[in-house]
């Protein structure tokens, strides 16, 4: 008797739960006052600062857009899910947002690895996915060189940074021979070195040596002594701030005082901390954004951001902010909140004006945009100049 009652009761419970689910789903799908946008970000875990930064930027832009009447007469509704900085989780979140929440577009994840994990779900469910910070070259293009129809990004690619830094070294700084010291364990650094080398030699510069280190190395003196003996005019060190900080410090200790160039992996206050203020001079890197840039868009964004979050915006905040406006721009042009039409509108974006630069989407779904070059002066990042793509 008791057992029967238990079975009946549990069945009732299951029905109630199921009914709850279905009714929720229909109400979510039928609600047409809002346009749902999925935010698949790293809100906890190893790279949570990136995910949080991008989310802050996106939410600020959504708030501004909604206060100004929204898009197509509807409000933008962010659906935020944490992917815990984990690629499996990123794939799950992507599926969930596309199928259960029926979002019109997926924003994120932040890193290239997690973005790649989130791609299959977006493609299968035919929902456009936009990443504002996945710089790897193979995010929007698959291994056969075919463009991924539903994937877009609003940041420049790794290889592009190498190209721009080579042009800076050869043209702007007038350095005719260079040496490369690259992180042999990172795809990011390898991509940058390759494109730097190609562009630099095509321009007529000479690469004196290509040396490598591994991430987590701490002693670079041997290889730096060797490079010093070759007398390069400039050193290209693509890599992340932890090792680069030590490299800059040890290079200066050994009396190797030539300019050091790199990519957006330098972007961290830790760089100054590790290298030390007094030696961190004559170091240039490409970045997405500088708050010291005094263009009209940047000034307005900086002001609004400070009002909402009470702090200085960084590159990730700016990228997130731009991505949200980039989405709004395409939604307006597509005329309705339909993933299929949105995808075509995103691909057709021309001369979009954002705080990280003006850009158009090229045939590979990458933006053609300017690079901000930052110069370190006594450990303080200062705006050097904006380089436009040729």
């Amino acid at each position: 008797m008791n057992r029967k009652l238990l079975v009946v009761l549990s069945l009732v419970l299951v029905f109630i739960l199921l009914a709850g689910c279905t009714s929720k789903e229909t109400s979510g799908g039928a609600n047409s006052d809002t346009i749902k946008v999925g935010l698949n970000y790293e809100l906890s875990g190893g790279v949570a600062t990136y995910g949080q930064g991008l989310t802050d930027g996106v939410l600020l832009a959504f708030e501004e857009i909604n206060n100004n009447g929204g898009v197509l007469g509807k409000k933008l509704e962010p659906v935020q899910v944490d992917n815990k900085s984990n690629d499996t989780e990123a794939a799950n979140v992507s599926t969930r947002l596309a199928t259960r929440d029926k979002v019109v577009a997926l924003l994120g994840p932040a890193t290239s690895g997690n973005t790649k994990a989130a791609i299959p779900a977006a493609t299968q469910n035919k929902v456009p996915l936009i990443s504002a910070s996945a710089t790897a070259d193979d995010v929007t293009v698959d291994s056969n060189g075919n463009v991924r129809e539903y994937i877009f990004k609003t940041c420049f690619s790794d290889s592009f940074q190498g190209v721009m830094m080579a042009e800076l070294a050869f043209g702007e700084l007038q350095m005719k021979n260079a040496a490369i010291l690259s992180d042999s364990t990172s795809d990011y650094a390898k991509g940058l070195s390759k494109s730097f080398k190609e562009t630099y030699t095509n321009l007529g510069g000479k690469i004196l040596a290509e040396e490598a280190y591994q991430s987590k190395d701490t002693d670079f003196k041997a290889v730096l002594t060797n490079l010093k003996g070759l007398n390069p005019e400039v050193l290209f060190v693509p890599g992340y701030y932890e090792e680069v900080g030590l490299i800059v410090r040890q290079a200066r200790e050994l009396g190797l005082n030539v300019p050091i160039l790199g990519g957006d992996g330098y972007e961290s206050p830790k760089l100054t901390e590790i290298a030390g203020k007094d030696v961190l001079n004559n170091v240039y890197y490409s970045s997405h954004y500088s708050s010291m840039d005094n263009s009209e868009e940047v000034v307005r964004f900086t002001k609004n951001f400070q009002e909402k979050y009470k702090k200085e915006p960084d590159a990730f905040n700016a990228l997130g902010y731009d991505m949200a406006y980039f989405l709004k721009d395409a939604l307006e042009r597509s005329g309705e909140a339909n993933p299929e039409k949105l995808k075509d509108a995103l691909a057709a974006t021309k001369d979009f004006k954002g705080v990280t630069g003006t850009f158009s989407i090229d045939e590979n779904h990458n933006p053609v945009k300017s690079v901000t070059v930052i110069e370190m002066k006594d450990g303080v990042p200062t705006f050097y100049k904006k380089l436009d793509p040729k």
């Binding site: 190893g46 490598a212 987590k216 002693d219 041997a222």
Partner: protein
């Protein structure tokens, strides 16, 4: 030529660190035939203790070095008592696995408390540079400190092992544990001493690395620990001068390989040499067929 001299300076500084860590491996192996994989993590703890003392208590270099060595020796004794003593008579594989577990335990406990980020050591030694041969060879005060402290510690260790009663007990235990016990040597005490001494050296290496490279993180002990282990095997594991020799040999090899354009193969060459040495002299470069180990 000048470049070679500069590389020698680089290689000797790097080698000193390896040698200091290798000593701990070799001593523990000599006495209880255990490869103490947690040794590299004791070195990491030493670096963090040094960091805390110099950053939060504003102590200067030498006191922090000494306190950090003391803390590490206590940690070494605790690790031995808690993890290794209960399994002293089990199989070697059990001991090895325990050692690896202790290593991971230390790494991740530390990560829990200090967060995984890299920390920067304050400038406790004023960076003074001396240049030779018209500026092409640069010697930093820190290089001198590292090498001098390493040598002083090794001389002290040599004195303890060969001239004191404890040292005699250590040598006796390493030769034959049972016989030493029958002669009235307190085995437990002797093993504790060995762990204390080895861990103190690792602690010193940790502080020196913190000062020299000025960054520390909870996983910093993994690679140097492995390299120091290689150094110890290269010189002949269980033999004190062998560890020192192996440490300097490995430091110089790595430096010279990177110096002559092989930075990508640096580790490959170092480990290839290890394999060659072990093929020709399985007991290591300074190993003898009659084992006399500590």
């Amino acid at each position: 030529m000048e470049q070679l001299l500069q590389q020698l300076v680089n290689g000797i500084s790097l080698g000193s660190i390896y040698a200091l860590i290798a000593l701990g491996y070799t001593m523990v192996y000599g006495i209880i035939n255990l490869i103490n994989f947690a040794h590299g993590d004791i070195y990491m703890v030493g670096a963090y203790v040094g960091f805390a003392l110099t950053t939060f208590l504003d102590l200067s270099f030498l006191p922090s070095l000494l306190i950090s060595m003391a803390v590490c020796s206590i940690l070494g004794i605790v690790v031995e008592k808690v993890a290794y003593k209960p399994i002293r008579n089990s199989t070697r594989i059990a001991a090895l696995i325990t050692a690896i577990s202790v290593s991971l335990f230390l790494e991740y406990t530390m990560m829990y408390f200090v967060k995984p980020d890299t920390r920067t050591f304050p400038e406790v030694l004023e960076s003074k540079r001396m240049t030779f041969l018209g500026g092409s060879v640069i010697l930093d005060v820190k290089n001198i400190y590292i090498v001098v402290i390493t040598i002083v510690l090794m001389v002290i260790l040599q004195y303890i092992v060969h001239r004191t009663k404890t040292g005699k007990a250590m040598r006796a235990v390493s030769l034959d544990k049972e016989a030493a016990e029958l002669m009235g040597v307190d085995i437990n005490k002797t093993i504790s001493y060995t762990f204390a001494l080895g861990s103190a050296l690792a602690g010193a290496a940790g502080v020196l690395v913190g000062v020299y490279y000025n960054t520390i993180n909870p996983l910093m002990g993994v690679v140097p620990g492995l390299k120091a282990f290689v150094a110890a095997v290269l010189g002949g594991i269980g033999i004190i001068p062998g560890a020192v020799f192996g440490g300097f040999f490995l430091g110089m090899t790595e430096t010279l390989v990177s110096a002559y354009g092989g930075s990508i193969f640096k580790d490959a060459v170092a480990f290839a040499i290890l394999i060659l040495v072990l093929l020709v002299k399985p007991n290591g470069l300074l190993g003898k067929t009659i084992k006399e180990k500590v």
